[in-house]
Structures are given as C-alpha cells and as structure tokens.
C-alpha cells in the first residue's frame, strides 16, 4: 500500500513536469512579459522605463531557459522557467501580476468554492443516483421511457440557460433567494440554495443517464438473475446487488473529481459572485494574469492526480478483488 502510494507519486512527477512545460510554452508564447507589463500598468501614461521596471519587479526580466549572466547554478536557476514554472512544484505560486500572493489567495478562495461545489456534488450525486435507480426500477415501463426522453432534453440545454433561467425565475420573479452573493458561515446559507440547485440541475441529464446505463448493464449480469432466483425482493436486488456493484464504475467517475471540487465552477461562481477559485480563474483568463492561470493549471493537474490516487484507494475499499501494491 505504502509502496503503491510512493509509486503513484513517482508517476505523478513526470506528469506534473509535462503540464509545467506545456503551460510554460503556451503562456510565454502567448504574451511577452512586455505585454503583461503594459496590461498591468494600466491604460494611461506608460513609459518604456515603467515597463522595464515592472518586469524587474515581477521577475520577468529573465531569459527563458538559460541565463548566461548567472554564476554556476544560477545560470539555470535564474531563468523564467525555473523561477516561474518549476517553483510551482514547491507549491510556491509566486505573486499575481497585481502583486498579491497567489498561494494565500488560493488558500482563501478554495473554501467558498468548496462550500458551493461540495453540496452540489453530494446532493447532485444523491439525486442522480436516486433518479437513475428509480428509472431502472421502472425499466421497460412508460415511466422509464418518459424519464429518459426528459433526461435527453435536459442534457440538450446549455448550462448558461440554467443559470440565466434560475436567476430570473427563482430569484427575480419568485424572490425566494438572493439573486447572487456569498457570505461565509451559516448566515450565508441562503446564498447557496440557487447555485447549488442550478449546479445540480445542469448535471442531471448527463449524469443520470450515465448512471442509469451503468445500472442497466449491471442488471444484465448473471448474479442479478441469481439474486432474483433466490427470491429476493426487487428493492433488495436493486440496492444491495446492482447498486453495490455499480458503485465500482461510479467511483471511477466520482472520486477523481472530488479534489477538483476545490477549483469550483467557472460559470456558477462568476454569475453568482462567489469568491472562489472558479471566479478567480475566469477573472485571470479575462485579465490575462498568466501567473494565476499557470498556478491554476498546475493546481488543477495536481488535484487531478490526487483524484486518481484516491480513486485507486477507493477501489481497494469497495472492490474486494483489488489489492494495491
């Protein structure tokens, strides 16, 4: 088990390095540090010296991979790649272009993201599974047919419409909840209702259909016939046998995203003004703050790999056949 974890970590390194190289190539290919400087110094009255100063200040005045001016190791370390990219490995995200510490900002903003994403995820998963089980229970009836068509229709609606529709309907017309906003703690609960609901509804089509297909596939297996042959009630067969076995493929899809819940949702957060990492990212994209985007890419990869490891661990937990080594 320990060996397994160590090996997984060892696999993770080259992947993170690859992510690192890729983003470095992308971001330093998009925009030269000069552009960044001009962008961040604001629109009016910028002198070339100011640009130069900005670059020095933010450490963008270095060569990409090799610094002939450095001495010894510094030839390699005093470069954009090492300073701006490799340092991410130490979770040293550096400063955003406005000078704020990205690590600190991430630390602060991941909680609001989680506060929205976790209930969305948990309640959503519960709802999707419940509906899928319901449909599978009534398979080959009109309930299932109508349900599936409804799901396909829900799938065919762009996520933006759910957000717009939800805000207009629930908040503007019916005035059940605040249109947008966020507050930490219990007093902020009413802010969460709408984003969580919309987050759940927008995933309902895809996920429920997926789970339904999984359940149906399990339902076709021989052991289900055995269970019926034993005289078990259909509920027991559904919940204990079908759900129990479908848990394994469900886990693959589900556990891997759990760490990423910290990253939040881009659209939900920006529409609802939730100060999480999703809106942080979208702001950074729109403001072209590459330091933040780089950090978020790296963080995303890191969390993904973490998710993969968690998936494996959870496999070992639910599936007696799996032993990690």
């Amino acid at each position: 088990m320990i060996t397994y974890l160590i090996r997984r970590l060892a696999y993770a390194l080259p992947i993170l390095l690859g992510v690192n190289l890729l983003t470095f190539a992308l971001f330093f290919g998009v925009s030269s540090p000069d552009d960044m400087a001009r962008l961040h110094l604001g629109g009016k009255r910028i002198t070339a010296e100011a640009v130069e100063r900005w670059k020095v200040q933010h450490g963008y005045d270095l060569p990409h991979f090799y610094n002939p001016a450095g001495e010894g190791v510094a030839k390699v370390t005093q470069t954009l790649f090492v300073q701006k990219s490799l340092k991410l490995f130490a979770l040293d995200f550096g400063a955003a272009d406005d000078g704020r510490d990205i690590g600190r900002e991430i630390g602060k903003r991941m909680w609001p993201s989680l506060v929205v994403a976790l209930p969305t995820f948990v309640l959503g998963l519960g709802a999707y599974l419940a509906i899928a089980l319901f449909l599978v229970f009534f398979r080959n009836t009109a309930i299932d047919t109508v349900g599936v068509i409804l799901l396909v229709a829900l799938m065919s609606i762009s996520g933006l419409f759910y957000v717009i529709g939800g805000q207009v309907l629930l908040a503007k017309w019916w005035q059940w909840v605040p249109i947008s906003g966020y507050a930490p703690g219990l007093s902020g609960l009413h802010f969460l209702v709408l984003p969580v609901l919309i987050g759940m509804v927008s995933g309902i089509g895809d996920s429920t259909r997926f789970y339904r297909a999984l359940f149906l596939e399990e339902a076709g297996h021989d052991y289900v016939r055995t269970a019926h042959a034993k005289g078990l009630s259909p509920f027991r067969v559904l919940f204990r046998h079908i759900l129990g076995n479908a848990a394994i493929p469900i886990l693959t899809g589900v556990v891997v995203v759990i760490p990423r819940l910290f990253l939040g949702s881009l659209i939900l957060e920006s529409f609802f003004g939730i100060p999480g990492l999703g809106s942080y990212t979208i702001d950074a994209i729109q403001a072209q703050d590459f330091a933040i985007v780089r950090a978020m890419v790296f963080l995303g990869s890191l969390l993904y790999i973490l998710g993969l490891m968690l998936t494996d661990l959870s496999y070992a937990w639910v599936d007696p056949r799996v032993r990690l080594q």
Binding site: Y223, A229, K230, G231, H241
Partner: protein, 587 residues
C-alpha cells in the same frame, strides 16, 4: 409433482423458442433435459422460475406445482416461491455470484428472504465447503467451490425442486464429477426433484432417471434413462446423437454423420423439424408434424432393438511412433514464464511458470493429443510453439524439421509460419467479423506466399473451400453468415491455404455441438490422410482423445505427467492425475 404442460416461450421478435414442451418432475427423481445449443432447454428452465430475459415471454402453457399454476401466480407470491419451493443453479459459477459480497452474506440473504431455520454453516457443510469459506469473496474460490456456494445459496429456501442449468459445463472434468455427485447426494438426502439441463450424453447417462430430449423447441423423445441408454432410443435424432459422440470405443471407425446443424429458433422446417437432417426421412415427414406419442415425436420411430454395443477392442492406427526417423516437431525442455512485477520499481519478483520444462515430439501424419485441465499450460505451449508469445519469456528448444524455431528471424520466421498453423477453439472469435471470407483466406497467402499472383491465390482458396465442404460462393460473404461448424471449416481452410505441415488444433470442437463436432473430426481425419499433416490436438475431452489421437501427453501444472500411445494411456493410466481424469469423465 411439477407438471409442465405445453410451454410456449416467445422471443421479443415474436418467434417461438420453446414450442409446446411438457414435462413432469417427481420428488427424489432426476429429469435430464438433453439437447444441443439453441433447442430451448435453458429457456424452459428459466420459464419455471419466471426469470426469462427481458422481452422473452411465456406465451402459453401451465406449470402446476401443488395444484397451483406457477404462471398465474401474482409476482408478489411468485417471489416467495423462487428460491423457496423452486431453486436454480446456473452454468457460470463466477458470474452468477455477486463479486463484491462474501459467500456468507449471499447465503444469509437467501436465508432471511425465506425465513429459513438453516444456518450458513450448516449449508456450507451440506455442500462440503469449509466454514472458513464463508468469509471469502467469490474470486477467492475455485470454480468448483463457487458452484458449491451457489448450490448452498439455492438450498437456503429448502426447495422441493432444484433446476440445474448446465451446472458443470464451465468446470474441469474432475470437478465436474464432484459437483454431479454432490447434486445427486443432495437430491437424495433432501428428496428434491432435480431438473438437470445438459448437452452432454455422458452426464445424462450418469444422472438421469428420466431423459427428455429436446430438439427445435420440442421434446422429441422422453424415456427412462435406463431404457434410453440401453440403446433403445427410438427417435432418429436421439439415436444419431449417441452415434456421433466420439469415444475410445469408436476409435478407427468413422462417426456416423448427422449433417447440417440445429435450426435457429423459429426458423423451423415444416413437418417434422428433424426431417432435413434425418437419415430415415420419408416424404411424409416433410409434410406432417408428428405428435409426441409413447414418448417419441416421430412418424416412423425406430425399433428398440439395435446394433450391438461397439467393441471396446481398440484398433491401433498406423503406429507412427517408431516409423519415420526424425520427428517433424521436437520440443525439448520448453519453458514459458510470465513475469510478475512487484514493488516500487516494478521489478520482476517472480514468474508464473505456465509451461515448465516440457519435452515432446510429433511425427508427420500423426496426431498428438495434449490433455489437461484449464490452466495447465496447454494453450501457452501452443502459442509458444508458434512464436506468438511476445509478453512471456520462452526458453528451451523447439525444432521443426530440425530448424530452431526460437531463433528464427525475418524471412526464416516467415517460412516457418507457413509450415506451422493453428485452428482456434472459438469459431466466432477466430474470424474477423468485418472481413469477407475470401479476404480472410487470402490474408495468409498474401503474407506468406507473396510470390503467388492474385489468380493463383484465388485458385488455392477455392480449392481449399471445396476441400472443407464449402464453395467459392462463400468468398464474398462475411463470417456471420455461417454457422459455427462452417466457420470452423473456414478456419481450417484458412490454416491449410498456406499448406502447413504442422497444425495445432486448440480445442477445435469444444465450442461445437456434438453433431457438428463429428463432421469436423471427419474432415480433419480426411485432411490428415490426404496431406500427411501432423496434428497437435489440444483438448480436455478424454473420449475425444480416445477416438482421435495416436498418442497422448497429459499436462498438469505446466509439466507433462504422462505420455504414451492413446490406447495404453487410456486403458492403463500410470499417473494418478491421469487416472483421476479418466475416472471423472462422465458416461
């Protein structure tokens, strides 16, 4: 006890797969439902539990158990009867058990469902499982243990009727014998009626009190086992089935032929459904559907008195062992090992020794049977012989025509490939479904005989198709248009196209119905006589070995435990394993 009358089972597309089957089960007796694939025997069994696959429905008939018609019970009540009064054991013990629950949990569940007073421990004891198996998961058990666990589960509701659908087909022969014995003991002890479904005459002979032979959705003959197997089969089909089953006793004789194959469900001919394949067919048979009278569904039933039992005296074929100087194929000390990687750096910590020091030889025109149970390494050996084992480490010596096969590279390897070919077990997976038959057959020629022009290739293919009993019209068609037997012929034709000297037959008939098996065996025999082919015949079926092979080697755990001429090994096995194998063979 249970009276099944006029059962009709309808498939989703409206065809009938079971067409008026009537059976009677009695307590403490065993009824064997015998039939080839697609005759409707499994659907009949599932109908009794009302567990038919989705879309398949019971379209008619009654099943009376204690004055109650099973088919008119409301679902709620039927559930209590399933696993309660009627229980069923399935074919695949692995997939029939829930993989993520322990054996105890799965048995417990059944006990709770039926409020039984038995315990998990007592049930495990009843099926000869150790108490510690209770906490095992199915994957931790062997095939036989799994089947026992499944049986234990089904006994939880103390059923009056136990239905077993090919309960031993997926098991090795030795295990098969144990499971059959267990079923028989349980039946006796618990006074259950046993409905055993099988395609194997041997099993039927061993287990049955009564045999019902099913053909094309109908019972064609029903008779006490004793009478039936004393060569009193009166239906031509039953008779033919018995005659096409190979055995040591039939060695040297051609098996009587049962042409064609079982018709598809619903695509039944008019009149007698067996008429197209029947040796005794009369014009009336094609017009009039015969009723089941006196246990036979035939207008012209055969007499009960029939030919003498075949003589056991084995007639050795041409004894090739001594004759021909250097053997065609010589294998010395062959090892096929798969690495097991472990630890941080995934270093090879150990090896799976699939084949561990095997030596054998094979002469031209000779058939060497390689016998063993699953996992003994016989398939690994076959693939290693053909250099088809890229993942494994292969050591030892393989010589074909004195050439070191393991050292061959490039053109030499190519040349070798045209001398040694293989026919696989499953005729469905061995032909690419997306290629036309002509292309499939041509592929080997293109690769190995680049010197041949398109015309020559075509000629060769046509010749081979004719030789295996098909013709050129097969070439533009896709494999799915052919039946299993025809596909296996195609596979043979494909191998023969490149004119090999050595043909490895990897269980070539085990996926086929007995009637078709006989046809394929006859073809193989004829081809061998014609081309002087050497066969390495891999199988687990001992009667088949007795019938077909010149010599036999028995493998166990990657090693050869016994080798010798077929008659000698079969008659007087030396190694205990061989003895066990022979003793377990049903029939």
């Amino acid at each position: 006890m249970l009276q099944l009358a006029d059962l009709v089972v309808r498939l989703p597309d409206g065809r009938h797969a079971v067409d008026g089957v009537s059976l009677a089960l009695e307590a403490g007796r065993c009824l064997v439902l015998l039939g080839e694939s697609g005759c409707g025997k499994s659907l009949t069994a599932l109908s009794l539990l009302r567990l038919l696959p989705e879309g398949v429905t019971i379209a008619g008939g009654q099943a009376r158990l204690a004055e109650q018609d099973l088919f008119s019970l409301p679902e709620r009540q039927m559930r209590g009867w399933r696993g309660g009064r009627l229980a069923m054991v399935f074919q695949e013990p692995m997939s029939s058990l829930n993989p993520v629950l322990t054996i105890a949990a799965q048995i417990e569940e059944a006990l709770v469902a039926h409020g039984s007073s038995q315990t998990v421990a007592s049930l495990l004891a009843d099926v000869d499982l150790q108490p510690q198996h209770a906490q095992s998961y199915p994957f931790q058990l062997s095939g036989g243990q799994r089947q026992r666990a499944l049986i234990a589960m089904m006994l939880a509701g103390e059923p009056e009727i136990l239905i077993a659908d090919e309960p031993t087909t997926a098991l090795d022969v030795t295990v098969q014998a144990q499971i059959l014995r267990l079923l028989r003991d349980l039946q006796a002890k618990r006074r259950m009626a046993l409905l055993l479904i099988t395609h194997d005459l041997g099993i039927a002979r061993e287990m049955a009190d009564t045999v019902a032979v099913l053909y094309a959705g109908q019972v064609v003959e029903e008779a006490p086992a004793s009478a039936l197997f004393a060569c009193a089969a009166r239906h031509p089909y039953t008779r033919a089935l018995m005659q096409v089953t190979p055995s040591l006793g039939r060695r040297g004789q051609p098996l009587s032929s049962l042409p064609g194959s079982v018709p598809l469900a619903g695509a039944w001919p008019r009149g007698c459904r067996f008429a197209p394949r029947c040796g005794q067919v009369q014009p009336r048979c094609r017009e009039l559907a015969p009723p089941l009278e006196h246990g036979v569904r035939c207008l012209f039933p055969l007499d009960q008195a029939v030919a003498s039992p075949p003589s056991i005296a084995a007639q050795p074929l041409a004894d090739a062992t001594s004759a021909q100087g250097t053997p065609l194929l010589q294998v010395e000390d062959l090892c096929v090992h798969y690495p097991i990687r472990r630890g941080l750096w995934q270093r090879t910590a150990d090896w799976v020794r699939a084949v561990d020091g095997v030596s054998l030889h094979l002469n031209r025109g000779e058939t060497l049977a390689l016998v063993g149970e699953s996992g003994c390494g016989k398939s690994s050996l076959a693939r290693a012989l053909l250099r088809l084992q890229p993942q494994a480490t292969v050591r030892g010596r393989i010589r074909l025509h004195g050439e070191e096969v393991l050292n061959l590279r490039g053109a030499d390897l190519h040349a070798f490939r045209s001398r040694a070919q293989i026919v696989f077990q499953d005729p469905f997976s061995s032909l690419n479904p997306r290629m036309r038959v002509g292309d499939i057959l041509e592929e080997g020629l293109q690769a190995l005989r680049p010197e041949m022009g398109p015309g020559a290739r075509r000629q060769q293919i046509e010749r081979m198709l004719n030789r295996v009993g098909l013709d050129a019209s097969a070439m533009p068609r896709y494999p799915h248009a052919f039946s299993g037997g025809q596909r296996q012929r195609l596979a043979i034709a494909r191998a023969l196209c490149v004119e090999p000297q050595l043909l490895i037959l990897d269980e070539p008939t085990s996926a086929l119905d007995v009637s078709v098996q006989a046809q394929v065996l006859a073809l193989l025999r004829a081809l061998q006589d014609e081309h002087g082919l050497a066969y390495l015949f891999i199988t687990h079926n001992l009667p088949l070995v007795g019938y077909f092979a010149d010599r036999v080697v028995v493998m166990q755990g990657g090693k050869i435990v016994e080798a010798g001429a077929t008659e000698i090994v079969m008659a007087a096995p030396q190694h205990p394993y061989t003895q066990a194998l022979l003793a377990s063979a049903p029939g």
